[in-house]
């Protein structure tokens, strides 16, 4: 505001001349721009604006003017995938491009996409792009010369992650979900009685999963999954994936794959995410149309590769880069199914018939992509791949309709993986197949075939001499599932759900039935990782009453019946592979008798200890009860007068207290009538 003083100093107003309203020459107003133009100033473009959308691409080929146009086209093609390129700058020196370029996008997030996806892009053998946002340069330039060591993060000690293996009594652990999901507990398996290790309410919102080597327990929550481990089951890691419904671990336990049907967008595939477990980082996201055949990504046995099948394509990715192996997927027209060998980095896949090309099963080695074996199959309706646990054999169950017939016939094509050129033997099955399972650690397989009620169980042995021998067939079995012991040799044939829980325990070394039993309405059978125990259970998810899990020995002797209110799921904790060498295992097996003696002694001791504990507990309970009863009787005796009064003086404290009042009366009861004929009287 101008001072009134100044105004007074102005030249006098004259009628003819227009007054001058301009400021005096040396006037400087003391109102700053911010006050007057605040809102407009806010929109003043900053120098830095626009720089956030610029990327610098390094290692671009240095070309002359004749190839510049082509180079620009190539760059454009690659980089316009991430957004709209609004500006580009190819600095030159001496007529050649310098080898780095600037690209500007319409928005900063597009620039970030470019960095994320194009950094490391191999244009050709000599040129691998390095892509950075321009603002990063600023950041890197302004790094102070004084290097400050990074702040030490407190060491999160989770303790011994393999603690449970060190249990001196070799008890395996298992997780139990009960109270319809409200409670989850971890027990240590003792043949006498399960020992509670940990129990938490609402530990998971749906169900749990163990990692393949047993190190982690994964729980599900609306916002993602959590991994727990160590002696006290502390939270090791958390992965945020809204609405996660399915997970899968890599066999090496380095990665976990989560699936959520919710959060998928075109720009940012989030349906499937692969995480690094130790760092907690999100490694890569993928689209996923349907989770019908989970796991969508199948891992190779060493965790080096993971693959998935989409229409006519097999995509194999490698770790840790998470990029496509050889930068491209395999085009396999009509591919129907594939699976990795559990023993080697080999994939088996099959394609159905295509005009005159027969259906075939192919075995392909990775990373070489070499086809080890191809097998043609004729008149195929469907195929299922069954690998033996060690990858020694592959069984392809082929359903065929032979020419000229209507019905479907099943063959088992057995591929002998360990023999040169992978010979294939065929086993023909006359009846429809209900279940098939390889013996782990062995070369036998079991088949359930036929139609209810005439279901048969057959056992075959794949011999070294090229023959596949039928060892034994049991007919009229009540079974719809096969459960081999993880160590081989023993198995359970179970008739789950609709077959009311019929169980048959078989020793396949001589194919004898060790025991036949029943767990009414059993819905699941789970072997412990050592093959010593079997758990059969009735889950609340399939049957609303009698929810319990029963513990049996591998021979079929029932040890425990554990009722749990609304019991849902029991999962054994897997064990990591043994650290012993084959030599050491052989030595132990030789000296087994010696070890047995020590264990038996220990068992006997613990038995008597248990009964002693029980006896002590009972004694204590009885003492407490007696004390209570004595006190109650005291009060009772004190009230005797009152009782007599209430009943008009009649003493009714004992049944025979008023025996004088009793009358004795003898009554005859008619008990029985028996007519004895005296034979025919002539």
């Amino acid at each position: 505001m101008q001072d009134t003083v100044d105004r007074a100093a102005e030249p006098e107003f004259e009628d003819e001349e227009e007054p001058s309203f301009s400021d005096p020459e040396d006037f400087a107003d003391d109102i700053d721009d911010e006050e007057l133009l605040e809102d407009i100033l806010r929109e003043k473009p900053l120098e830095a604006d626009g720089i956030d959308s610029v990327v610098v691409v390094d290692n671009v080929p240095q070309v002359g003017p004749e190839r510049l146009e082509k180079l620009k086209n190539v760059i454009h093609k690659i980089f316009s995938k991430f957004g709209k390129i609004t500006n580009e700058f190819y600095p030159e020196v001496d007529g050649m491009t310098k080898g780095y370029i600037f690209l500007e996008y319409a928005a900063p997030n597009q620039a970030l996409e470019a960095v994320k996806n194009a950094d490391g892009y191999k244009l050709d053998k000599q040129h691998t792009f390095r892509v950075n946002v321009f603002t990063d340069f600023d950041k890197y330039m302004s790094i102070s010369d004084e290097w400050e060591p990074p702040e030490k993060q407190p060491f999160k000690d989770f303790g011994n992650m393999r603690h449970w293996i060190e249990d001196p009594d070799c008890r395996d652990q298992y997780s139990v979900i009960y109270e319809s999901g409200e409670r989850t507990a971890i027990f240590s398996n003792d043949p006498k009685e399960p020992i509670l290790v940990e129990e938490r309410a609402r530990w998971t919102e749906t169900y749990v999963r163990w990692s393949p080597k047993g190190t982690y327990l994964a729980t599900f929550h609306q916002r993602g999954i959590a991994l727990w481990g160590g002696e006290k089951f502390k939270q090791i890691q958390r992965f945020s994936h809204q609405g996660v419904s399915l997970i899968d671990f890599s066999p090496c336990e380095r990665y976990v794959v989560t699936f959520s049907p919710l959060m998928d967008t075109k720009e940012d595939p989030q349906a499937i995410i692969i995480w690094d477990i130790l760092t907690g980082q999100k490694k890569r996201g993928f689209h996923c149309e349907s989770s019908a055949h989970w796991p969508i990504f199948k891992w190779s046995q060493d965790g080096k590769f993971f693959a998935r099948m989409t229409q006519d394509t097999l995509s194999i990715y490698e770790t840790p880069s998470m990029g496509l192996l050889d930068k491209k997927s395999l085009k396999i027209s009509g591919i129907k199914d594939f699976s990795w060998s559990p023993g080697d980095n080999i994939i088996a896949f099959w394609v159905p018939e295509d005009k005159d090309i027969p259906a075939r099963v192919t075995l392909m080695q990775f990373p070489s992509r070499q086809e080890i074996r191809v097998r043609n199959l004729f008149n195929v309706v469907d195929c299922k791949l069954h690998w033996q646990r060690q990858g020694d054999y592959l069984c392809v169950k082929v359903d065929r309709t032979p020419k000229g017939t209507q019905g479907v016939v099943t063959n088992f094509e057995i591929f002998r993986m360990r023999e040169k050129q992978v010979p294939v033997d065929v086993v023909e099955m006359k009846e429809s197949i209900i279940a098939f399972a390889w013996e782990p650690n062995g070369s036998k397989f079991a088949v359930l075939h036929g139609e209810s009620p005439r279901i048969n169980a057959s056992f075959y042995h794949v011999k070294n001499n090229g023959k596949i021998e039928l060892i034994k067939m049991f007919d009229k079995q009540q079974a719809n599932s096969i459960f081999w012991s993880p160590q081989g040799q023993f198995m359970v044939l179970a008739g789950l759900r609709s077959m009311n829980g019929a169980l048959a325990f078989v020793d396949t070394s001589d194919c004898t039935m060790m025991n036949i039993a029943e767990h009414y309405m059993a819905s699941d059978v789970e072997w412990d990782p050592t093959g010593r125990y079997v758990v059969t259970s009735v889950s609340w998810w399939s049957h609303k009453v009698d929810n319990a899990y029963w513990l049996w020995t591998f021979q079929g002797r029932l040890l425990q019946k554990n009722n749990k209110d609304r019991f849902c799921q029991l999962l054994w904790r897997p064990r990591p592979p043994t650290l012993l060498s084959q030599e050491q295992i052989k030595m132990i097996k030789k000296d087994l008798k010696k070890y047995s003696k020590i264990f038996e002694q220990k068992d006997r001791l613990s038995q008597s200890k248990a009964s002693k504990e029980l006896v002590d507990k009972r004694r204590l309970m009885m003492e407490e009860y007696r004390q209570y009863r004595d006190k109650a009787m005291q009060t009772y005796n004190q009230q005797r007068e009152l009782r007599l009064q209430l009943r008009g003086g009649v003493d009714t404290d004992e049944l025979d207290s008023n025996v004088e009042d009793w009358e004795e009366e003898t009554i005859e009861f008619f008990i029985n009538e028996e007519i004895i004929p005296f034979g025919d009287l002539e």
């Binding site: 009698d546 009860y625 209570y628 109650a632 209430l646 009861f669």
Partner: protein
Amino acid sequence: MKPILLQGHERSITQIKYNREGDLLFSVAKDTVANVWYSVNGERLGTYNGHTGAVWCVDVDWDTKSVLTGSADNSCRLWDCETGKQLALLQTNSAVRTCGFDFSGNIIMFSTDKQMGYQCYLNFFDLRDPQQIEDNQPYVSVPCSESRITSAIWGPLGEFVIAGHENGEINQFSAKSGEVLKKVKEHTKQINDIQPSVDLTMAITASKDNTAKLFDSTSLEHIKTFKTERPVNSAAISPIMDHVVMGGGQEAMEVTTTSTRIGKFEARFFHAAYEEEFGRVKGHFGPINCVAFHPDGKSYSSGGEDGYVRIHYFDPQYFDFELEA
């Protein structure tokens, strides 16, 4: 032990009761019939006819003079035990769920269900005042707004009634004023039955939450718990041994999904101090609805959904059996 089978009802048994001396066994069922039998041989003495709906409860006074029954026909009736003649009919607004004579036999209580807009009430009548019966006016009527009473017994000296509710609560109602003297909530689901020990010092409750619990009648202190994996319909305390017997089953609609092996429904015996099960008795073709010990403890009876009442006399081994301690 070979049981005596009583076939006198056409529908499921709702309650059975021995008289104080144990020579008579009363049974009532959904078929509107109330029967009385000789417990020594199972011979039927007679029937109390009159109810037109399912009879839910029965009680007999200490002198075996009068019998009290409560029914879904909205009435509580008093009968002469010997002749079977109906002495009084007390009309109610809803089904009578539980009833009983007090220690002196002078006061009766019964509870009515929450039905058709009517609340659950606990009513007390003094039989020495015939006006109350004539006018159908209880001297105390306690409304239960929260959770209806599902089972009730008298306390040891007739001063209060111990009632079990649909929500698992147990309340002590004063017989003089109707006020709540004590309350506890140990069960998580409906209490199906409460029975006193023979000296009335303890009470055992049977609940849908798969457990039975032992309480002190006066203090309502929770003493023992007996766990099973099925809802418990009824429980009783042995007069002479440290045993309790429990009978149960599951919802009628779920019966078809369990094993249909004949006679699978069992009465289970637990040690009262150790809370451990030590024996089972099979025989019923349906869930067991009511169990009762004979006052001399040498036999027990059970009434089932199958309409049968079974009287079991214990073998000598039962009395010698001991759990190691």
